[in-house]
């Protein structure tokens, strides 16, 4: 499966200079995800003359910028080279061969441990941290958590991942967790699930058989799916949360559940059998800094949004980014009288992972997406519907 590759714009700059190379001699993959901050990737370049290696163009830390897409829409990510590997010498006289070059977003080059502090909300700290890098856009949802923040010999990414993100809280998020990630257009995103999941779907991805030369960017050639395992669900289902009062030392406890923190709508269900037993606990010791505690309580339920995951492969579509919403339709389309989809797997999903893959050797450009959702509405004909969480 592939597309007319000549329609794509592909440019690769190494150390600021464009690599003039036949695009049939290069392949690359750009991986982005809402679960990690820095995009990563892999670039495969044929270097038959060995000159790229000889002239140190691929040493670690070298800038490598990839633009891949159409004139009006494209992935454009500044990377740095992590390493360069020559698995096999194909030309003994030149040390030439096919190089494999793992890459990571260029912000990694600026990740030095810092000793500093902030007096701000978490969203304000992030706005300060992101000023030192030329992101395309910086999209930050406001938080509460006004306090002193100590960046104690941590890099910016470590500071965000370990200290700020797990505590981020906003009443505007309707008690949903935050995600921090850089997408395929070099946009820095710090957004809560309410913002992400209420976006208008940018496209409809349709799983159907391709007939003849019928080509559509949004046709899903193949997909697989999985549901969260019972054991993972137990971690989120009916959790008891303990804390110690700072006023009198007494133990305070509350119960929350997998239905919380995710914008449950009426008639929403989770495909997981319900019971009332407590299945997990969290202990917060003394309840200082209540915004941090609220944020962390929500953050610990973050993975529960991935109840149903679908892995699908489509022709490369640069408009689809990690963090986008898409509508997925299986071969069975249409709606029931009660508004639910005829197929329970059709519906709106959040793009968790987006891999843009260009393979010049085999002349194809595809995307691998993992899309996810937490809730679904099931038709009234489903007799087991009332045994699900959410009933």
């Amino acid at each position: 499966m592939g597309t007319a590759l000549e329609a794509y714009i592909i440019t690769i700059f190494i150390d600021g200079k464009e690599l003039k190379i036949d695009t049939k001699q290069v392949a690359f993959q750009i991986d982005t995800s809402i679960w990690k901050i820095l995009p990563t990737g892999n670039v495969i370049i044929q270097d038959p003359s060995g000159l790229l290696q000889e002239f140190l163009l691929t040493v670690p830390g070298t800038k490598l910028d990839i633009t891949f897409g159409y004139e009006e829409s494209f992935y454009k990510v500044p990377f740095i080279i992590v390493s360069d590997i020559l698995p096999e010498v194909e030309n003994a006289s030149t040390n030439g061969g096919t190089l494999t070059i793992p890459v990571i977003h260029a912000w990694a080059f600026k990740q030095d441990p810092k000793l500093t502090s902030f007096d701000d909300r978490i969203s304000g700290v992030l706005r300060t941290l992101t000023t030192v890098f030329p992101f395309n856009k910086v999209n930050i949802n406001d938080t509460e958590n006004q306090n002193f923040w100590y960046q104690s010999l941590k890099t910016d990414v470590e500071f965000i991942e370990e200290i700020l993100l797990p505590k981020a809280f906003s009443r505007n998020s309707k008690f949903t967790p935050f995600f921090c990630f850089i997408d395929g257009q070099n946009n820095f995103n710090f957004q809560h699930y309410k913002y992400l999941s209420t976006q208008k779907p940018i496209t409809i991805l349709e799983y159907k058989e391709v007939v003849g030369k019928d080509f559509n960017l949004n046709i899903v050639a193949d997909y697989s799916r999985k549901r969260m395992s019972f054991f993972e669900d137990e971690l989120f289902h009916n959790r008891i949360v303990y804390g110690l009062s700072t006023t009198d030392g007494s133990v305070i406890s509350e119960v929350d559940s997998i239905e919380d923190y995710s914008l449950k709508q009426p008639n929403d269900k989770i495909p997981y059998r319900k019971d009332q037993d407590i299945s997990n606990y969290t202990y917060y010791e003394k309840l200082y800094d209540l915004d941090d505690v609220r944020g962390n309580r929500i953050f610990n339920q973050r993975k529960s949004i991935s109840q149903e995951e679908i892995l699908l492969v489509i022709p490369y579509n640069p408009e689809i980014l990690a963090g986008s919403m898409v509508t997925f339709q299986t071969g069975v389309s249409g709606k029931n009288d009660d508004g639910s989809n005829l197929s329970q797997f059709s519906g709106n999903y959040l793009v968790e992972f987006a891999s843009a893959i260009y393979d010049g050797f085999n002349q194809q450009a595809i995307m691998k997406l993992v899309i996810t959702r937490k809730f679904n509405k099931y038709t009234n004909n489903y007799l087991l519907k009332n045994s699900l969480v959410g009933a």
Binding site: L115, S117, F148, Y150, I163, K167, K286, Y288
Partner: protein
């Protein structure tokens, strides 16, 4: 979380940014090296580990000196909260010769061998001590005045100007200025300067 080294910056939590958290026995600390460049106004206030406030009506306050090295135990990864454990051990500050010089002024003390004497040298230069073998214990004021109890419970109170020995059996000997003396004998007589004796 683990124990960290810190410096005491302030022991008066009337300076705490939250008015509800003032006069709560906390001290302001700078964790090393993580808070080296943090402005003082942003440094955290830590709770006492000992002499805390575990129940109503029972709490204490005995903070370490400002600028002293202490150990702290952060309880949150934000480092904003935790306990202070009092003085950190710095070997250069531990000097037994200072203590021995004070103990040697106590003529009633049978011996002052290191490791037999348990002691606490306070920051105001006073010394509490206890001898684990002889059972003697006492207090030496920075002025040189001292009190010593022997194992039986006899006590001597001494300064450069007087000496008072109170015995468990009820006898007493006071020696004051110009060798003046008052003695209470076991017979109940009180003797003044060995010349005058009064029967009680």
């Amino acid at each position: 979380m683990k124990l960290q080294n810190a410096i005491v910056v302030n022991i008066d939590d009337n300076n705490h940014p939250l008015s509800t958290e003032r006069q709560k026995g906390r001290i302001q600390i700078r964790i090393l090296p993580f808070m080296l460049d943090v402005p003082e106004s942003r440094l955290p206030w830590y709770d006492p580990f000992f002499r805390g406030a575990g129940s109503t009506g029972k709490f204490g306050f005995n903070p370490p000196k400002v600028n002293s090295n202490i150990l702290v135990y952060p309880t949150t990864d934000s480092l904003r909260h935790g306990y202070y454990l009092d003085g950190d051990y710095i070997s250069g500050f531990f000097d037994y010769s200072i203590v021995k010089a004070k103990l040697d002024t106590v003529t009633e003390l049978s011996e002052s061998t290191y490791s037999k004497i348990h002691f606490q040298l306070l920051e105001n230069d006073n010394l509490h001590f206890y001898h684990e073998s002889t059972g003697e214990s006492g207090f030496i004021h920075k002025s040189g005045m001292y009190t010593i109890y022997d194992e039986t419970g006899n006590v001597t109170l001494h300064s450069s100007n007087y000496n008072l020995k109170l015995n468990f059996d009820g006898t007493m000997l006071f020696t004051g200025a110009n060798n003046s003396k008052v003695e209470v004998k076991s017979s109940g007589q009180i003797a003044f300067n060995d010349h005058l004796t009064i029967d009680v």
